[in-house]
Structure formats: C-alpha cells, structure tokens
C-alpha cells in the first residue's frame, strides 16, 4: 500500500529566495508575447541562461566547489515554479542543470566533474539527453547504438532521435550498448558523454507541429571517443539512467507546461469582464492548488534525502493530465461564442500548446510506464 506523503510547506528561506528570483526575472526576462513564453522549458535563449548563471543559479543544487549554488530541493522548486510561471526561456541550460549535472556529480570521475560541472554552472556547456532511438522509446533497454572498444577509447556508431536541442547542445549523455545485443535487454548498456563537435556526429533538426525545431536526429558515424567519455561504470548504464530519470519527475515542470496559456486566457476574461467561464476557471484552480501541494509534499521528501520514486511518478501522471487538459478545455471555452474576437496572442499561445500537449505525457516516461510504476508501489507487480 502506497502512503502518499502528508502536506508540507515551503520553508521561509525558500519563500525569501522567491523574492530574489522575481527580482531577477523582472530585470532579465526579455519582453515576450504569451505564445513565446508558452514554450516555457522549450524556449531556448543562451543569453538568458548565461545571465542566470552569472546570478549563480545554474547548477542550483551542485556544490560550491564546482561553481554551483549548493541549494536544496525547496529552492529548486521555487526557482522552477517562478521561471515557468513567467515563461522564462530556460531550455539552454535546463537539461544540464537538472539532469546531466546531477548525473555527473553522482557518477563522474574527479576529472569529469572538474571539467564539466564548472562549465555547466557558467552556462557554457549545454547538454542533451541521448536516450530515444528510431525504434527505442519507452522500451529503453532495446537501444542499438553501440560503442566498441578501440585502443584506449571507444568507437561509437548508431543514432538517437527526438533529442531535445541537440543542435544547440555541446554534449550529449548517451545511453548505448557496449556488450551483448538488444536481446540482452538492460545488461551491457553504458553511458557516455559525447562531445557533439567531434567528427562523425551529424545532427538534423526535426520540425514539429508548432513550426519549431526543438528536437533533432543525431547520427554517430564512427565517432572516436576517448576513454574519459565513459561516465560511471561500463555495463551499469541501465541503473544510472533510471536514477537520472528520477531527477526529472514530479517538479513544477510537470504541472505548469500550459500555465502561460491559462494565464493569458484569464487576462482576456478579465479584460472583457466575461464571467461565463468562471466555473471552468475554478475547477482548474482547484486542480492546480492540489497538484502544487502534492508536488511540494514530494519535494519535502527529496529535501530529507528520501527517494520518492513512486510518489513522483504518481504526481507526474496527474500533473501532465492537468497540463494536457488545459488546451482542450480552453479550445472549447474560447470557441464558446463564435462572435467574440480573442486576441491574436491568445490564439497563438493556444495553437502552440494544443500542438505540443501530446508530448507532455510522453517526455520523462509515458503515462503507461508511470502507472506501471505506481502499480509496483501498490504491490501489484
């Protein structure tokens, strides 16, 4: 039986940090229309990321020794919440900050930590995640990209796809096979830090339904990697990648992906004095409040060093359902009276979020995978 953690509150120091974050955003956030802000954690702006790094907030949880802010889970919650509510373009540093950096800190050698972590904290190194392949999505153990030993180092062949911002990233942490075949499943997998500027790496952006190119296909054609490219232990890639995925669940980013659209709609309701959709708004506020409280409850577990994997999966499934429901419900509300003229900015934000919403319950683990994890937590499997 799964016992979800009790309600928890953000400590006063986290609320004090919120004021600092708001001041920073007031100064540094470029003035962008809602449809650009709605890109939230898919909005790429290297200049913004570097300004945030100068403030000391990239590598927020990494140790001072490497240039990080050495802050805890609550500060991270507040920073992410404020940035996403404001629609700050965080994509450039996002993956390195919350996923690759913590992975390198946990599994990297001293040399890898000394090399990569300060560059991450200065927003000089942007990372991408090399997990999915053309025939490998939720079934991550079936990856076919392969690194063969060659001399001291490795030779990498294969391809990755749906890689977020590979075309802007400097490094990829790739999960590839170093022994056996896809039939060996999770045995024989390893993780490598691949320098994307190396000869033999070919990156092709993929245009999406919203007209953007967030994703790329990355082909490795006889890429020669040094021995220092291997991160962690050869053959332990599966365990490492699962720990890595746990870094990216249950935070505010699994609740707030449609929040800029929602807020633009609320602003329109207020501008026009329209109250016929008050009940829909109230329902969404109730869901938002409960999800946020659930996310804080999980954050409080992280803050005491627990590993609330099941609880995080549970919140992510509910949270992404909420995010996805917003464009669906708002399409109906905005079209409720064909005689009204919604602002272009609102329509553009709706078009973007409606187009991208299917990915919300895919990235970081599909709905079915997450529910399987919850079922395991319930003792059913």
């Amino acid at each position: 039986m799964l016992n979800f953690p009790d309600l928890a509150t953000l400590p006063p120091e986290a609320e004090a940090f919120r004021r600092e974050v708001r001041d920073f955003l007031a100064t540094h956030l470029p003035p962008l229309p809602a449809d650009r802000r709605a890109r939230s954690w898919m909005g790429f702006d290297a200049g913004f990321s570097r300004a945030l790094a100068r403030q000391g907030w990239v590598g927020l949880t990494l140790p001072h020794h490497y240039g990080g802010a050495e802050r805890g889970a609550f500060a991270r919650f507040v920073l992410v919440e404020e940035m996403l509510a404001a629609g700050a373009p965080v994509a450039a540093h996002w993956i390195a900050d919350r996923q690759s950096g913590p992975l390198i800190l946990r599994y990297g050698s001293a040399a890898q930590k000394d090399f990569h972590l300060p560059r991450i904290c200065r927003a000089e190194s942007f990372f991408c995640i090399g997990m999915s392949e053309p025939d490998t999505g939720s079934d991550l153990a079936s990856v076919r990209s392969r690194a063969e030993r060659e001399g001291e180092g490795w030779r990498l062949n294969g391809s990755k796809v749906w890689t977020t911002y590979a075309h802007h990233a400097h490094f990829m942490i790739a999960l590839v096979r170093t022994a056996g075949t896809p039939a060996d499943r999770h045995k024989g997998l390893s993780q490598f830090i691949v320098d994307l500027s190396l000869p033999g790496v070919r990156i092709s952006p993929i245009r999406d339904l919203a007209g953007d190119a967030h994703f790329s296909e990355v082909v490795f054609d006889d890429v020669a990697l040094g021995p220092e490219a291997l991160i962690g232990t050869e053959g332990e890639g599966w365990a490492q990648v699962n720990a890595e995925l746990a870094f990216e669940r249950s935070g505010p980013e699994r609740i707030l992906s449609s929040i800029v659209l929602l807020d633009r709609w609320i602003a329109w309701l207020r501008e026009t004095g329209e109250s016929r959709h008050a009940a829909l708004l109230g329902r969404l506020m109730a869901e938002l409040a409960v999800l946020r409280a659930m996310s804080i409850a999980v954050t409080a577990r992280l803050a005491v060093g627990a590993s609330p994997v099941t609880e995080a999966a549970l919140v992510k499934d509910l949270g992404t359902g909420f995010e996805q429901s917003i464009p669906t419900l708002l399409t109906e509300a905005i079209a409720a009276d064909p005689a009204t003229a919604p602002p272009d900015e609102l329509l553009r934000a709706l078009a973007y979020v409606a187009g991208m919403a299917p990915s919300f319950s895919l990235r970081g683990g599909t709905r079915e995978i997450l529910r399987g994890m919850v079922a395991r937590g319930l003792g059913l499997r």
Partner: protein, 326 residues
C-alpha cells in the same frame, strides 16, 4: 498528520462502530444507542473548544484524522457536524444543544425542509442560513419521507420553534468542508478494499490485480485517492473552514469520487451494487458527498469568480489563497 490522533480516532470508530453495528445503525427501527454514547464519552465532540472550556483546543488540522476516519468507516453518525456546531454555540456564549447535531442545506420550500441521510441518528438538525448563521430544529419534529440512496426529505411545520444561531458563519462552507474531508477518508478506504479484492479474486488462472489493464486502473484510483487526501489537508487548516480552501477540496474530491468509483466498481465486477457489499456503503457516501452542500459546479463557480476578482497570475492566486499551511 499526528499519528497518535490518527490511531486514537481509528480506534474509537473501530470500537464504537464496527461493521456489524454500522448496518444496524442504518435501520431507523433498530438503531442501537451505544455507538453515539461511546463517541460522547471519548470527549472528541468538544475537540474544537478551548481547553479552559473543557475542550481539547484543537484546530481543523487536529480533528482531520477523526474526520478522515469517519469517512473511511462510512460513519452515519454526525460526528463532524456535532463538533463544529458545539464549537459554534460555545463561541457565541450559548450552551451547545444536547445530542447528535446534523448539518443540512435547507431546500427551497414555504416551511423548513432539508435532504438528510439517516435522520433518525440526529437529535437536532442545523439548517444553514442563506445570509449566514443557522437554524436549529429538533429532528423528531420533522415529517420524514425516504427518497432512496440513503436520503430522506425532512419537513417541519412552519410553527415548530427553532433556535437561531446568529454567528454570521456561512454554514454551507462548513457542510462542504465536512463532506469533502469525509469523502477523502472514504476514497482511501475504497482504494484499500479494491486493492485487496484485486489480490484475492482470481480469473483466467491468476489474481486480477496481475493483469496490466487492471493495474493501470488501480494506479489511477491510487492517484485520485492521494489527490483527495492532499485536498482534504489543504482545507483542514485554521480554526474554521475557509471558503476558498473548502471550494478547492469539494471540487477535487467530487472529481476524484466520480473517477474512483467507476474504477472501484469495475474492478469489483459490479458486485458493489449489492446491499451486502461494503463498497455499496461507500458508493452511497461518496455519491451523497458529491451532491451535498453544493456540487463541483457550485464551488467551481465560486472559486473561479474569486480568481477573476484578483489580479496577477493563477499561481499567485493559488499561493495567496490555497497555499499549504503548516
């Protein structure tokens, strides 16, 4: 939540109202008086009163474990309503009325009328006023018309003298709060029972809980139960139910109940529709809770209008009005 209080509350209800007595309580002709006496003796009914006045000096968070336990026991006795009503009378410097007090939303009618579950278990009915305050009427003076689903309509003759409680409180909020919190307790119980059943019932050679299709549904049930408990905790703060927190909890518990009951009944192979199956009791409890003191539409409209009156973004509204409180 305080585990001592949680354990004490669960113990009390396990003893005061074991499943065998529960069904006897629902029979107007044969309801035993012992369960209510045990609850009176426990002292819980004055939990919200200051210690100087013989109470326990608790706030809503303090009585939450008891209210959740009422929900998870499908308790038909009006424990929560009696606690709130006794505290309200005492705050006005009035002697709280004797016996079990149930809370009801009055129906539009020329003379006082209300829909109530198990009216035979209350000595007094506190009818929510439309402009704040409430009217206390003796339950025995009402004409009772059973309506099915465990509900009855009560009509009082216009000449029956009531006792007015002029405390200015919106008692619909109090009623909605109690319903929402008890629903959270009921949902937790439904999850436990459904999980147990899925482990016991075998079809096609294995426990039905081993089938992925069932597992995925049980996960959703667990998610709704978890959301319901957090919504109840968000609402159970301070000395008295807050209108917006109560609105959020009532909305979310209403949604959760609808989703969860569909799953629980499906996993039980619809056996929960039988009178003898416990799921039946929780179905009625949740169904009644969704409708009582305003459903999702009513509270959504209220919460949405409050958000529209504010300025700033949705997260700001949530942080100001619906933030977790220690």
């Amino acid at each position: 939540m305080d585990s001592l209080l949680t354990d004490a509350a669960a113990d009390l209800l396990d003893h005061a109202c074991p499943p065998a007595l529960l069904r006897a309580l629902l029979d107007p002709a044969a309801a035993p008086p012992e369960p209510w006496q045990r609850i009176v003796d426990s002292g819980f009914l004055d939990a919200l009163l200051p210690e100087a006045e013989g109470g326990a000096g608790l706030d809503l968070a303090g009585i939450l474990p008891l209210l959740l336990a009422c929900g998870s026991h499908a308790m038909p006795l009006p424990v929560g309503a009696t606690i709130l009503a006794r505290a309200a009378f005492a705050r006005q410097g009035l002697t709280p009325p004797e016996g079990a007090i149930t809370l009801a939303q009055p129906m539009a009618a020329p003379s006082p009328a209300a829909l109530l579950p198990a009216p035979h278990l209350a000595a007094q009915v506190l009818l929510c006023g439309t402009e704040g305050g409430a009217l206390l009427l003796p339950a025995a003076a009402a004409r009772v018309t059973p309506l099915g689903g465990g509900l009855s309509r009560l009509d009082w003759d216009g000449a029956v003298a009531g006792r007015r409680l002029e405390d200015g409180a919106d008692w619909r909020v109090a009623g909605a709060f109690l319903e929402a919190v008890e629903m959270a307790g009921a949902l937790r119980r439904v999850l436990e029972d459904t999980l147990r059943y899925a482990g016991e019932r075998r079809q096609f050679g294995r426990a039905i809980g081993a089938f992925q299709a069932i597992q995925q549904q049980l996960s959703v049930l667990a998610e709704e139960s978890a959301a319901g408990l957090i919504a109840a905790q968000l609402a159970a703060t301070g000395p008295w139910p807050d209108p917006l927190r109560t609105a959020a909890a009532k909305i979310r518990l209403g949604q959760a109940a609808a989703r969860a009951m569909a799953i629980a009944h499906a996993v039980h192979g619809a056996m929960g529709i039988t009178e003898e199956h416990d799921l039946h009791l929780f179905t009625l409890r949740l169904q009644r809770g969704r409708a009582a003191f305003g459903g999702e539409a009513f509270w959504s409209e209220r919460l949405g209008r409050a958000a529209l009156r504010e300025t700033g973004d949705s997260l700001g509204f949530v942080r100001r009005c619906l933030d977790p409180v220690a």
